[in-house]
Structure formats: structure tokens, C-alpha cells
Symmetry: C2
Subunit: 119 residues, 2 copies
DNA sequence: TATATACTGAACTAAATGGTTCAGTATATA
DNA sequence: TATATACTGAACCATTTAGTTCAGTATATA
């Protein structure tokens, strides 16, 4: 089976790590080098480089090396797909729980009328 | 270091797998047993049980066993935190790119006025 | 030119993931 | 009571992840 990796797989996986969420927030305030980020998150350069690579693979970060410094910036992806997926889920969720609420409401009414619970 | 696992870690990790996203969508339409889900996603019972456990740990699904059947339903979490995180990120993102746009705009103006590029 | 800085790649590690099979247990059904 | 169904747990497996160290390379700086 040729495994097509959905962008959602990569971005949600990228977001599942607190260090990477922190890096995104940081880059939202200002661009940063690998060294900057490694220091801020108490990690080796190599370790931070890997996190940045994961974010880059997900399209959330872009980097450019000038001289010896690699500068990291936010990528072009505004996470629109991710937001859309969650919003669609929330619609399903709401519909589902409204359906449940109706049932609960019906049971309450039966109880008030002293009708038997229909097993 | 006592590792506090943020709810976002668990839910984003849960969402990073297409099978689990599919299960959530399915449960948005109707409750289902482990067997139902295993069949729909072409997987062993044991395999599906693990996915459901991951979703349950993230609070996205609840299950209840009646007789021999374990029924899975959507959990109470509407992924509000997840949506909020992404929305906050999108605000940062927009601000960041508007800042960049201003710089580009300024450069354009200079070009029009034939001013030198200030190094 | 010598030294310090910034990164990179390979190799290693421990743990987690996503699946499987196999051998149960508990519950329904004929 | 015998059989089929639904799940469960343990064990295994290959791969990925999240980090490390170590040994480089390339670039600045004194």
C-alpha cells in the first residue's frame, strides 16, 4: 500500500509536542536561529534542529541559512485545514449531543407524567 | 522531572492518526462497538481497541461495556482548547505576516521613489 | 592565521506507536 | 449444555520519536 501522508497527520503530530508548540509561539513573536531556540528550550542544537525539521516538514516553519546562521520563520500555512477539521468535528459533536439531549428531555417528561420506562 | 502531560499533547497526538480521525467522524454519526469500528477500518479487534483507548485517554471518546459489547461514544470534550490554541496561533500568524507585508510595502515605495536600498 | 561560533550528520539510546497473533474470559444463543 | 460472539491481555515486531554525544564542516572574528 502506497502510504500517502496527509498534511493533517504531519501537522497534528507536530503540534502534539509542547516544545514544538512553544517554538511556533516564539516564531510568532520574532524570527530566531537554531541557537536561540535551543537555548530558550534548554536543549542541544542537534535536538532543536530535529524539532525545527519536523515543523518544516509540516509546512509550519521555513528556514534559510545565511553565513553560519540558520534563521527560522513561520511558514505560509495558517493551519486553515487543521482549524477546519476541528470546526467540522465540533459541528458533528454539537449535533450528536443535541440528539442526546432530546432523549434525556423525553425521559424527563415521561417521569413527570409517571409513565413507565419503555425498556 | 515530573512530566505533566498537557491535554493538548494527548489530543493532538490522537488526531495525528487518520484511523482515529475517522473513528471520531464515525462516532459523530452514531455510536459503535469495537467490532463495528474494527470492520469499518479493516483492522483486528485488538488493534482497534488500542486506537479507542488512545481516544479515550485524550477524553475524546467514552466507552461502556454492556454484556459482551463495548459501545463507544463521543466524549464530553468539544476540543475547545485545541480550537483555541489554533485560533490564537492564527492571530499571531496574521500579525506576523502583516508586519512582513509592511516591510515589503515600504521597499516597494522606495523603489518607486528610486531611493537606495538602506543596507 | 588561529580561534571561536553555528550548524550538521551519523550513531546510539530508551521509550512510544501501530500493528499483529495467540490464548484466554465472559456472555449469548441454539 | 455446547457453540459462537465480543472482547481483552500478553507478547512480539518493526518503525518512529525525542533526545543525546561526538566528530566533523563552514564561517566569522581577533
Amino acid at each position: 500500500m502506497v502510504q500517502y501522508i496527509a498534511p493533517l497527520d504531519l501537522s497534528f503530530a507536530a503540534l502534539s509536542d509542547p516544545t514544538r508548540r512553544g517554538v511556533l509561539e516564539q516564531l510568532g513573536r520574532s524570527d530566531a536561529s537554531i541557537t536561540d531556540l535551543a537555548e530558550r528550550f534548554h536543549m542541544t542544537l542537534t535536538g532543536m534542529k530535529k524539532h525545527v525539521s519536523v515543523l518544516e516538514a509540516a509546512g509550519l516553519v521555513v528556514t534559510k541559512k545565511v553565513g553560519r546562521v540558520r534563521t527560522c520563520r513561520l511558514g505560509r500555512r495558517k493551519m486553515a485545514e487543521e482549524a477546519a477539521w476541528i470546526e467540522q468535528y465540533q459541528q458533528l459533536w454539537t449535533a450528536r449531543f443535541e440528539a442526546l439531549d432530546e432523549i434525556v428531555e423525553e425521559l424527563k417528561q415521561r417521569e413527570l407524567n409517571n409513565e413507565p420506562d419503555p425498556k
